[in-house]
């Protein structure tokens, strides 16, 4: 494997010598051609991390290197203009006094006028905006402005692309479509990108790998599947979607849970909190199943699937089923785990967390 394009080691950032760190000993690496996402709630330090990589903030400690060239480190701070790093801002930051073409050509320093125009044109075609060259940014729609911003950042062909919540100013429909397009574009160009978001769905679908950040630290790094299905901490389990928490007694590879005896993803001993995604539970007929018996208390039909709320021994659990299974509230059902439960790290697990379904992740924005 080649060396990573971006390497961040023990990055710490505090605003003021006495202030507590906003980013605390964060380390991660981004491979060539990889789209890496930092996911976390607002105020977790993800944007500050990105701004340190861009060079707008001076790191308090730790190192940042792009292609083995140290950009930030003890006694080193390469200014933003000397870094081969492009950034797309949340609000796009298009220059209102320049036309679309002038915006895109802005970063093409040291080239002849003709070459700048040609390369700007090329970048605009790449994002499908030919015909808008002479407009002012404020006369474009949100999605078009977004693409101008992307073209402007890509035109100088940076080593690394940084994206700060680039889709959050688009409406829901446009957001999904744009996300898809941008991902395909970056992949076709083989661009490496770091992408910051608070939207778990966005991070899961856009990134090759992602890091979940909380309180200035990274809780977990992995592929979307790993992070979703094998959350290391309670926070990660909850932040990436709803899940069922089970306070269990572990003995080696198995644990006694409120939903019966279940295999574990890793061996553990004693009292542990385990997570079980709703799609990893099944509903069966109580007469034939060996699962735990409970009562259906709620049903949410979502078209492609159904989410049941089932009450077992005083706790409520969520179960996703396909839309062919049909139960009414009040029906008696058996809940059976399909997959091993995931042991959550005890360090970040409050012992008093009750068993049952987690609440909806906090809506943001």
């Amino acid at each position: 494997m080649s060396s990573p394009i971006l390497s961040v080691q023990n990055l710490t950032k505090r605003f003021g010598p006495a202030a507590s760190p906003v980013v605390h000993e964060v380390s991660f690496e981004v491979e060539d051609g990889e789209i890496f996402s930092i996911l976390g709630p607002s105020g977790c330090g993800k944007t500050t991390t990105l701004r340190c990589v861009a060079g707008f903030e001076e790191a308090s400690a730790g190192t940042i290197a792009v292609r083995d060239q140290t950009l930030s480190g003890p006694g080193v701070h390469v200014s933003p203009d000397a870094r081969d790093v492009g950034i797309v801002f949340q609000n796009y930051a298009l220059f209102p006094h320049l036309t679309v073409r002038e915006n895109v050509a802005f970063g093409l320093n040291g080239a002849s006028d003709a070459e700048r125009t040609a390369r700007a044109q090329e970048a605009l075609e790449m994002v499908g905006l030919e015909g808008f060259e002479d407009r002012r940014p404020q006369h474009l729609s949100g999605g078009q402005q977004q693409r101008v911003a992307l073209a402007r950042t890509l035109a100088p062909e940076p080593d690394l692309l940084l994206l700060d919540e680039p889709f959050s100013n688009l409406d829901a429909l446009l957001r999904q479509e744009t996300r898809q397009e941008v991902r395909e574009l970056l992949k076709s160009k083989g661009m490496s990108a770091v992408f910051v978001t608070h939207n778990q769905e966005e991070a899961l679908s856009f990134a090759d790998r992602l890091a979940v950040m909380r309180g200035g630290q990274l809780d977990q790094i992995g592929t979307p599947e790993e992070v979703y299905y094998q959350p290391r901490t309670l926070f990660v389990a909850q932040f990436l979607g709803r899940t069922n928490l089970l306070l269990s007694q572990a003995a080696g590879p198995e644990a006694e849970t409120p939903l019966g005896r279940v295999g574990l993803n890793e061996p553990a001993e004693g009292t542990v909190l385990v997570s079980m995604r709703p799609e990893h539970l099944a509903l069966e007929a109580p007469e034939t199943s060996e699962g735990t018996v409970g009562t259906v208390v709620g049903r949410a039909f979502k078209g492609h699937d159904i989410t049941y709320r089932v009450c077992c021994e005083g706790s409520e659990y969520l179960v996703h089923t396909d839309n062919r299974q049909f139960h009414e509230p009040g029906d008696t059902v058996a809940v059976r785990p399909l997959e091993p439960a995931v042991v959550l790290e005890s360090r970040s697990t409050p012992a008093e967390v009750p068993s049952g379904a987690t609440p909806e992740p906090e809506p943001e924005e």
Binding site: I87, A93, H139, P156
Partner: protein, 534 residues
């Protein structure tokens, strides 16, 4: 902060060091010099100069005039602000214009108009045969200053009325309070910050005024200073008077800060989405119109009519085109460089305040108001004493006058640049930086083009203000330098109303342009450029 930290901060914010040094140095050094010179006198003499009946009378007169004008401007501004914001009166835009237009009539022009209207040879006597005693003294100064400064209070109150959260009034009504009690118990208290900031502007104008009190011959600190300077130039006594005026100004600034403390933080989420209900006045609307007409008649029509009347008189004997042209040129040659200098000083200060808001940058921003708050007569005197003593080559030069204008009016230049900077968010500069521009390059290629308009507005404000400025010009103008303002004032002072008219008319024209710029800017801030949102 430790020494190293201060050095770091200065390194990062080097661009404000120059303007701050210029302003602090330019304003404070002469004042401190003045202080030192005054204290060079024998303490006993000094004591005699300060502690005597005359000082007490001057203090009483100055404070009395300030309080009187505050009351007078409130009586004019509050009803007019209410009528233009909270009633369904037709023609509210026109009424708003009437509340601002008096800014086109500087105090000394207003005083001139009042003097030229009344008295045995006044317009009233000549046209209607109505002889009223010529206005002078307290009453004359009070009327002239109230009529010419109430727009400052009007603008503040109007903004406050528009920003009131209607739900507060509605809650009070729902709790069973009648309209009048809601106004007294809920609306008026919320207007207090606007009263304080508008009132401060009015008070500073009264304290700094020289034209009105000298024409009306009312014995205030400024008038006494002028007499000292013009007649028996007693340097020590003049310095004492200037210092006492400064102390009085400082006391008023402290009082305002004290009263304002805590008031501004009470505002909850502004009721921006909703404007308050507008009252239908019914038959009372005629009272509203009558009031507005009365205010407009006195503050705009009277001076315009008077100047027009005497203009006819002046035209009959041939207009002094040559000296009018010379005066215009003198005014422009001092005002134009002052405008550029003030805008250049304001840009870094505003930039720092917008981009790095913190307690100490707020202090730096306050520095811009230092020259504005210093009474111009005292400031000019300090500059004279300082230049004579320390930099004699600068004494009575155009450069010193330009410097004085720029320092005095810099505060007017900060506002427009500030709002322009808000249109150029820091992300734009950061985007330029990540696209390979140096800090300065990013500023020049991105931020500067976006604040250019704001800078032009700043320059327009300072230029037009300096064109009508009187006390600084009076004391600091080079010999033979006769600006429009000086001509108006000196002819009016000798009751040569006809001769004063052409200059007064030109001044009113220049001031009307000032009002025009002001209104354009008000409209721009009421409807922020769509660029920001789109």
């Amino acid at each position: 902060m430790t020494g190293a930290r201060v050095l770091d901060t200065i390194r990062d914010r080097w661009y404000v060091v120059i303007p701050v040094a210029v302003v602090v140095g330019g304003v404070l050094i002469p004042l401190v010099y003045l202080l030192l010179r005054a204290f060079q006198a024998d303490p006993a003499t000094l004591w005699d100069l300060v502690v005597r009946g005359r000082t007490l009378r001057l203090l009483g007169n100055t404070v009395g005039l300030t309080v009187g004008v505050l009351v007078g401007t409130s009586v004019l501004a509050l009803p007019l602000a209410w009528l233009t914001t909270r009633t369904a009166l037709l023609g509210r835009r026109l009424l708003t214009l009437l509340g601002v237009l008096p800014l086109a009539v500087p105090g000394y022009v207003m005083a001139y108009a009042l003097m030229a209207t009344t008295g045995e040879y006044g317009t009233l006597a000549q046209t209607l045969g109505l002889v009223v005693p010529r206005l002078s003294g307290y009453v004359g100064a009070w009327i002239a200053l109230s009529l010419s400064t109430f727009p400052y209070l009007f603008l503040n109150l109007r903004t406050a009325f528009l920003g009131l959260d209607p739900s507060l009034e509605e809650s009070a009504q729902a709790l069973g309070r009648g309209r009048w009690r809601v106004f007294v118990q809920v609306v008026l208290p919320q207007l207090r910050p606007a009263f304080l900031s508008g009132g401060l502007l009015v008070a500073l104008h009264v304290l700094g005024d020289f034209g009105v009190v000298s024409l009306m011959r009312y014995d205030t600190f400024s008038y006494a200073l002028y007499i000292q300077y013009a007649a028996s130039y007693d340097r020590i006594y003049a310095a004492c008077l200037a210092l006492m005026l400064l102390v009085l100004t400082g006391a008023i600034l402290l009082l305002e800060a004290r009263l304002l403390k805590g008031l501004l933080f009470h505002r909850t989420e502004s009721g921006a989405g909703r404007t308050a209900a507008q009252y239908r006045l019914g038959p009372w609307r005629w009272a509203g119109y009558a009031f507005a007409a009365g205010v407009a008649g006195l503050s705009v029509l009277l001076p315009a009519g008077t100047v027009g009347y005497w203009m006819a008189d002046s035209t009959a004997s041939g207009l002094p085109w040559a000296s009018l042209g010379a005066a215009l040129w003198d005014s422009v040659s001092a005002s134009a460089p002052a405008a550029v200098l003030a805008a250049l000083l304001a840009l870094p200060v505003a930039y720092l305040g917008v981009r790095h808001p913190s307690n100490w940058t707020r202090v730096v921003e306050r520095v811009a108001y230092l020259g504005y708050a210093t009474p111009p007569l005292a400031f000019a005197l300090a500059l004279i004493v300082f230049s004579l003593g320390a930099v004699p080559f600068a004494y009575q030069t155009l450069g010193l006058l330009v410097m004085a204008y720029a320092l005095h009016f810099m505060a007017e230049a900060v506002g427009p640049v500030r709002s322009a900077l808000y249109q150029a968010p820091p992300h734009l500069e950061e985007a330029a930086r990540s696209l390979g521009r140096s800090p300065l390059g990013a500023f020049v290629s991105v931020t500067f083009p976006l604040v250019r308009r704001g800078l032009l507005v700043s320059m327009a404000f300072v230029f037009l203000s300096a064109m009508k400025e009187l006390p600084l010009t009076f004391l600091l103008a080079p010999i033979g330098f006769e600006t429009l303002a000086l001509n108006t004032w000196s002819y009016a002072e000798e009751a040569m109303f006809g001769q004063a008219a052409p200059y007064a008319l030109t001044i009113m024209f220049v001031s009307a342009l000032f009002v025009g710029v002001l209104l354009l800017r008000e409209r721009a801030t009421e409807h922020p450029a769509s660029a920001e949102r789109a």
